[in-house]
């Protein structure tokens, strides 16, 4: 039935096609408009905008990862901020090592905060972070491993629903407390900052900013494709089955815990990658990224955009974060009212999110039919229904 290649399936969905083409176009166009046009040109994109957009895109990837577990598998994780932050810390540690002796204390062996705390040598868990490859490995491995271990325990003993949400929240809260401690060796309260460069390229250069933007946009596109591959597979149908009727799925002989573990781990890895792209663009990572409030906020991006669709969370993350930037600047007191209202409004009135609203889905459905007829005129001439 559904065995056309992935791309062909996506092409038949106007919403996905539009979103992905906008992303890919932006991935090339925005850096070009930033780097090639003189800054007085009307089409010049200022560097700070490039970085801001890049930040939104990492949020979009993060939202995608939450949607994979929540929208498709029904696991409401209130701790995904932790995976994001861990990916960010791994990246941050690499960049800390890159500073070398250019820190305030000029100590080539130790990061500034360790010198400040009178540490004599590098803790073992910082070994290897001088190497970019190793750091990138950790970006996926650390969040993935945490998710795997946590999920192994939680899913095997069938902690579900709100209980699971609460313990994921406890997990990120425990990490928040832990990372606040100076003797953890991750910079305590202040976190990691004052980064200089990646692979020898300065972080503050326009070229680097544009590159990070490009990578972020492509990461979202790739993330979409990976998620799409998963949810379109039989495994994807199993996880939706788990979401809708968990015990029925068990009685069919599926080991629900393995499936959950799989998506939870994949999702954590995606979140970790998002975090690793985020940190160089904002220039700092500190324990507040672990705060439970952050993790819940991700969920609202997904809820508003539309969970259980892969375009929804991307759109939700972009919309909410743009609004956040705008309102925290223009009307700071109003923003929390709006965010709070958004939670209530979207749960009460937009159960399927923006992309699921009738107006939008009708418009795209029309497009889809037109497109489908264009692609496979014969099917429609016979009155058949292509999937």
């Amino acid at each position: 039935m559904t065995h056309q290649p992935l791309l062909l399936r996506i092409v038949k969905e106007p919403m996905a096609v539009s979103l992905l083409s906008v992303l890919i176009l932006a991935a090339f166009l925005v850096p070009m408009l930033n780097l090639m046009l003189p800054s007085d040109s009307a089409f010049h994109v200022p560097s700070y905008v490039v970085t801001l957009l890049g930040k939104y895109l990492t949020y979009a990837l993060l939202a995608l990862s939450v949607d994979l577990v929540w929208g498709y598998c029904g696991i409401l994780s209130l701790g995904h901020g932790a995976f994001f932050a861990l990916g960010g810390y791994a990246m941050g540690m690499y960049m800390m090592r890159q500073i070398g002796d250019r820190g305030v204390y000029g100590n080539a062996e130790l990061p500034d905060f360790m010198v400040f705390l009178n540490w004599q040598e590098l803790p073992w868990y910082w070994y290897g972070f001088d190497s970019f490859g190793f750091a990138m490995l950790m970006v996926v491995l650390v969040p993935g491993l945490l998710a795997f271990v946590f999920g192994w325990f939680a899913f095997r003993s069938r902690v579900t629903g709100v209980y699971l949400s609460i313990i994921t929240q406890a997990m990120t809260y425990a990490l928040l407390l832990a990372f606040f401690r100076n003797d953890m060796g991750f910079g305590g309260n202040n976190g990691l900052t004052d980064f200089k460069d990646i692979l020898g390229f300065g972080l503050q250069t326009d070229g680097m900013r544009a590159t990070l933007f490009f990578l972020s946009a492509m990461a979202v596109v790739t993330g979409y494709l990976v998620c799409r591959f998963i949810v379109d597979s039989r495994l994807g149908r199993v996880i939706v089955a788990i979401r809708d009727a968990e015990s029925r799925t068990r009685f069919l002989g599926y080991r629900v815990e393995y499936y959950k573990l799989f998506v939870f781990t994949v999702s954590a890895v995606l979140a970790g990658i998002a975090g690793a792209l985020y940190v160089p663009q904002v220039g700092i990572i500190n324990p507040s990224e672990f705060s439970p409030a952050n993790s819940i906020e991700i969920v609202i991006w997904v809820a508003l955009g539309g969970r259980g669709s892969l375009t929804g969370p991307i759109i939700g993350a972009l919309v909410v974060n743009y609004a956040k930037s705008y309102f925290t600047g223009a009307l700071p007191e109003v923003w929390l009212f709006m965010l709070g209202g958004l939670f209530i409004f979207s749960t009460l009135f937009l159960p399927k999110g923006l992309v699921g609203t009738k107006a939008i889905s009708d418009a795209f459905e029309e497009q889809r039919l037109r497109l489908a007829k264009f692609l496979r005129p014969y099917d429609y001439a016979e009155g058949g229904e292509g999937r």
Partner: protein
């Protein structure tokens, strides 16, 4: 004339402060006393030290006034003839007083007087001597304090006064403390082995960290093997008792934290346990309760200041009503549309919590509000063993248990409780029996919120009242409910107190933050074993 009365008044105050009525001074000592006072105006500190000792040895009760003036830098001498005088600033005028007669020295202007200077060593001596002098006070409390001061100073020069005081002492409690001070001095400074052994024995009876330290010092440094050994033994026995007391102290801290957790969690146990509703705005209900307390106190302060001690008695029902009403609004407005969708409820109530926080921030500002403790909640029971039980903590423990008890009564014994349980167990059946389940839901939610509000009143007494108050407790209260098991007040009680106690016992070893992390990780692991908590029901009613 005016300045004279002022001076007299000041002296009365001063003498009361020192604990001596100067009216009782004995004229027989007059000359000896004034000589001793004069001797304070010595050229070097050694002479001054001797003079201080001599003055205290007179046993004259005015000596304390003079010595404390010396300590406070208000003892002067007249440059013309070296007469030692007390001085007192009164507005711009400096008044000088002759300590022997306590009369103003009328013909002297302030600039003619020079301060008698002392160094730190003398200051230390003065403190001890003053303490010793107060040992003879008429007021038993003051004598007791003095005995403790002498013990702390542990100065052999005080021994004579101390012995005089012990001979005179009639109050057994005070006498005990004096004996302790004496034993400490003897143990440390005496050369007489027998006396020292006896002193060590006496000290071994007490339960006090300072005594343990002293015994430890002697055990380490003494050259007399007998004394050394006994001091070691005695230290061990003191340490043993101290450990027991510190256990008690930890237990109290734990129970106290537990009672706070219980208060914060019990309302949640109602909404989560009975209705299956995750109320993330529960913490904000607590916060609203605390702000209600603030408002009530504000009104009382401005209109009925005399009734301040009653403010909490008014705030408790007020907070219950305010947050209960908010609860009804929230249930009717939001939650009822989301029954059967617990995850959505969680998100919507989280949104609500953000809005409530911002609302309070807008109305009252982001800073902490000043909420006062009524007099009956301030202060503490303290023992010499280092145990401190503050009254506000004690009252909160009592209050939390009272709230739990009342709640148990409401759910078990009232019509509303019956309907509440009926709706939980079988909504359709309850409806068909004529129970208006919509109202039962609203009232149940109001009850949970109202209890949160009452918790807020209690928390306002021990925590900062700020818009973030609720956030501090929300995760912990969820942990309590999840750990204790849903739908069971017993579980909440046991959950709260065990988490509180475990937390406080971990703290000394791991530190507060790490202790908390251990507890969180412990709960996460515990849920794996018992996904439904400690006291989970096995029945169908809890299956979601």
């Amino acid at each position: 004339m005016l300045s004279k009365t002022l001076a007299m008044r000041w002296l009365v105050v001063l003498s009361v402060f020192i604990g001596l009525g100067f009216g009782s001074s004995t004229p027989a000592h007059a000359d000896e006393f004034s000589d001793a006072v004069q001797a304070l105006n010595a050229d070097n500190n050694t002479d001054k030290a001797a003079a201080i000792e001599a003055l205290s040895a007179t046993g004259d009760e005015r000596a304390a006034t003079v010595l404390s003036a010396l300590l406070n830098g208000t003892l002067f001498y007249r440059q013309s003839d070296g007469l030692v005088v007390l001085s007192k600033e009164s507005g711009n005028v400096t008044i000088l007083i002759d300590p022997s007669t306590m009369n103003e020295v009328a013909d002297v202007s302030g600039s003619e007087a020079k301060k008698i200077r002392i160094n730190n060593k003398l200051r230390g001596q003065l403190k001890g001597v003053l303490g010793a002098l107060t040992l003879l006070s008429k007021d038993a409390d003051k004598r007791q304090n003095a005995a403790d001061e002498v013990f702390k100073a542990n100065d052999p020069s005080m021994l004579p006064v101390l012995q005089k005081a012990i001979a005179r002492e009639s109050d057994p409690d005070v006498k005990g403390r004096m004996l302790r001070a004496q034993a400490a001095i003897i143990l440390e400074y005496s050369e007489d082995t027998a006396a020292r052994l006896k002193a060590a024995q006496t000290l071994g009876e007490f339960t006090d960290p300072d005594i343990s330290a002293l015994l430890g010092k002697i055990a380490n440094t003494s050259t007399d093997p007998e004394v050394k050994k006994l001091a070691k033994d005695m230290q061990d026995s003191v340490e043993g008792r101290l450990a027991a007391w510190s256990f008690l102290g930890n237990l109290f801290q734990g129970v106290s934290l537990g009672s706070v957790l219980l208060l914060a969690a019990v309302g949640l146990a109602i909404t989560f346990g009975v209705m299956g509703v995750i109320n993330m705005a529960h913490g904000e209900m607590v916060m609203l309760g605390a702000y209600t307390t603030f408002m009530v106190q504000d009104v009382i302060r401005t209109h009925f200041p005399a009734a301040f001690d009653w403010s909490l008695a008014i705030a408790v029902p007020a907070a219950f009503l305010v947050t209960g009403a908010v609860g009804i609004l929230v249930e009717r407005g939001i939650i009822r549309w989301l029954y059967g969708r617990p995850l959505e409820t969680l998100l919507a109530t989280w949104g609500l919590s953000l809005m409530l926080q911002q609302l309070i921030r807008t109305l009252f500002g982001p800073t902490n509000q000043e909420v006062g403790n009524p007099s009956w909640m301030s202060g503490a029971i303290e023992t010499s063993t280092g145990l401190v039980l503050t009254y506000n903590r004690i009252w909160i423990i009592v209050f939390s248990l009272a709230v739990l008890g009342m709640l148990a009564l409401v759910t078990r014994k009232t019509m509303f409780g019956l309907q509440m349980r009926a709706v939980t167990q079988n909504r359709a059946m309850a409806n068909s029996m004529g129970i208006r389940s919509g109202w039962v839901d609203a009232l149940t939610f109001a009850l949970g919120s109202g209890i949160a509000g009452m918790a807020g009143v209690a928390l306002s007494q021990i925590d900062n009242v700020s818009p973030n108050l609720g956030q501090t407790y929300i995760i912990d209260s969820f942990m309590v409910v999840v750990f204790g098991g849903v739908g069971n007040l017993w579980g909440t009680l046991v959950g709260a107190f065990s988490l509180g106690i475990v937390n406080k016992f971990l703290e000394p070893y791991a530190g507060a933050v790490l202790g908390k992390i251990f507890v969180l990780v412990g709960i996460i692991l515990f849920i794996q074993k018992r996904p439904r908590g400690l006291f989970a029901l096995k029945g169908r009613s809890v299956e979601g």
